[in-house]
Point group: D3
Chain length 126, copies 6
């Protein structure tokens, strides 16, 4: 493993998001490579790599936030895959999304659950 | 333990939020007792009582969502207490709030961290 | 009419949203039937069935909120149909959406009005 | 009644919000009188004065939106007064706020209900 | 140039948004012509026509807000075109969107940057 | 000037926000020094220090976003001071906030303008 923030972040991104993470980075290459660089360095190099909270809880945290905010479905899908990749069960991520009905309302929970549905189908047919 | 939704919810609320939860319910008694009743029945009776996700992960979920939404500081404080009550460490809740800088921006994370600061002080001076 | 919360809610949902409501429930059957159950029980069984506010005002309330939040277009469309089903005129729902330009800004009002446009076309060609 | 947009708006504002509305305008006099002018002309002169939706439904619309958005408590209080001024019953506005638990989550509904509580106390103690 | 608010606004809209602005107005003609009229009169007739802030800074303001809010992609694209039309460089608008990673989080910045990418492609293939 | 990200960021923060910026960092020292460190490194070291957009436009960008989001008044006040510190006129920042009435609604613009009022008073009474 490398030891610049970029190298640490790229390792983390690869481990957590796999192909989906690389696609995000790729999609920014032409329009704004620095946003790709910062996305690797700050979220993955600085934050996800920290001790103090295990990766599974980090992905629960992210799925909860993105479901509640409700305006970033593509990123929610990436992190639903990530949550499953780092050891969350299908049941656990459904519970996280379901619980958002309490804090962000039923429409946010419904749209989050449709994202879960899409992600589970992608993984089955994938 | 009782077995109506209200009784199950009240048990959960008492276990998770203790005095702070009872104060929320009390504050609604006069203006809208049905909102108090529904707050016990749906979030606590129906959701928090479910298996499939442990209580610690449920509180991480809620702290993440409330920090990201950023417009419900009183409820965030109640759930920071709750998170600590059900076994989250101080370090873990700080990591959850810190991680929100990635998904909801630095102001949301800063305001969330000020809530953590207040809650930790309340518990020390108790 | 039944008298469990589920039965009361299902009646309400059928009366208000008709086919569209059933489709929402159907879409959740496989991924998370409990979210379907809770959506019937809490919003429709507990809330829409209450006296104190007539159904027409309830749908105005919901159309206003979903237009203002701006991140749940599918649910907005369901409730625009619902509003028309329970007696709102086309003019009234347009006024509700138009008024959101004041409270949530012109983009929210524009996107809400495009949803109105789609819903009215669906009903004409439907 | 005058017939410029400003005059029509000022009449509407006075009728709906009374003293509270004038205070909002007064508070902007020094820092940005044009925002005061636009607030009278567009929301009140252009929108509230329209036919097509009665004033009571307009205030229900606004209370719903401001409760759901959750980041503008002072304006919510002004419009809770306004809703009561134009004929909503206490029960009706409580139902509107309660219903927001479904669409924007329980914290938004709780904070909205605390605003209702404050407003009702203000009106009782005068 | 005319001198009613509508005429001033229509001039501004044409100068800033060109064809894209006219399409927005056209799209509302049938469903709610008054929203089209208000969109010309208030945002463009009253606000964009003001002195005190140059047009380039006004478009930077709007691109920042729409990227941060994250729930109005069609309007963001219109204003990315507008920003380029009134003299922002490609680099400047990318910096504005990139900076939103700090205030609204990385998903908002990513989705904003995808809108930039689409708009730049539209202008190249024109 | 130093050349680590922290040193570059601390220089930027000092230049832009002066005392107010240092207070934010100080307030985090005990509860989460790493959030203070990241706030210096990413927003100020990585973003504000970039070429491609002048500092004045960067602060206009931030004031617009924070007014529109509407849930981070303390940070808005810090950046209203910052905007004035880097060369925005009072008139320009009022125009930015006023323009938010179009994109985020009148309550957001009103609350933003109250923050402007407070900041201008702070600077006068100093």
């Amino acid at each position: 493993m490398g030891n610049t923030r970029y190298e640490i972040g790229f390792e983390q991104l690869s481990q957590i998001d796999g192909e989906a993470g690389h696609k995000v980075i790729e999609s920014l290459k032409e329009v704004c490579p620095d946003l790709a660089k910062f996305t690797i360095e700050y979220p993955f190099g600085d934050i996800y790599s920290r001790s103090g909270l295990d990766l599974k809880s980090r992905e629960i945290t992210t799925v909860a936030a993105l479901t509640a905010l409700g305006n970033c479905q593509p990123q929610l899908k990436v992190h639903l895959h990530a949550a499953l990749n780092v050891g969350c069960t299908e049941e656990e991520i459904k519970e996280v999304v379901l619980q958002m009905s309490v804090y962000a309302g039923f429409p946010a929970a419904l749209n989050g659950m449709y994202a879960v549905k899409d992600v589970l189908e992608e993984r089955r047919t994938g």
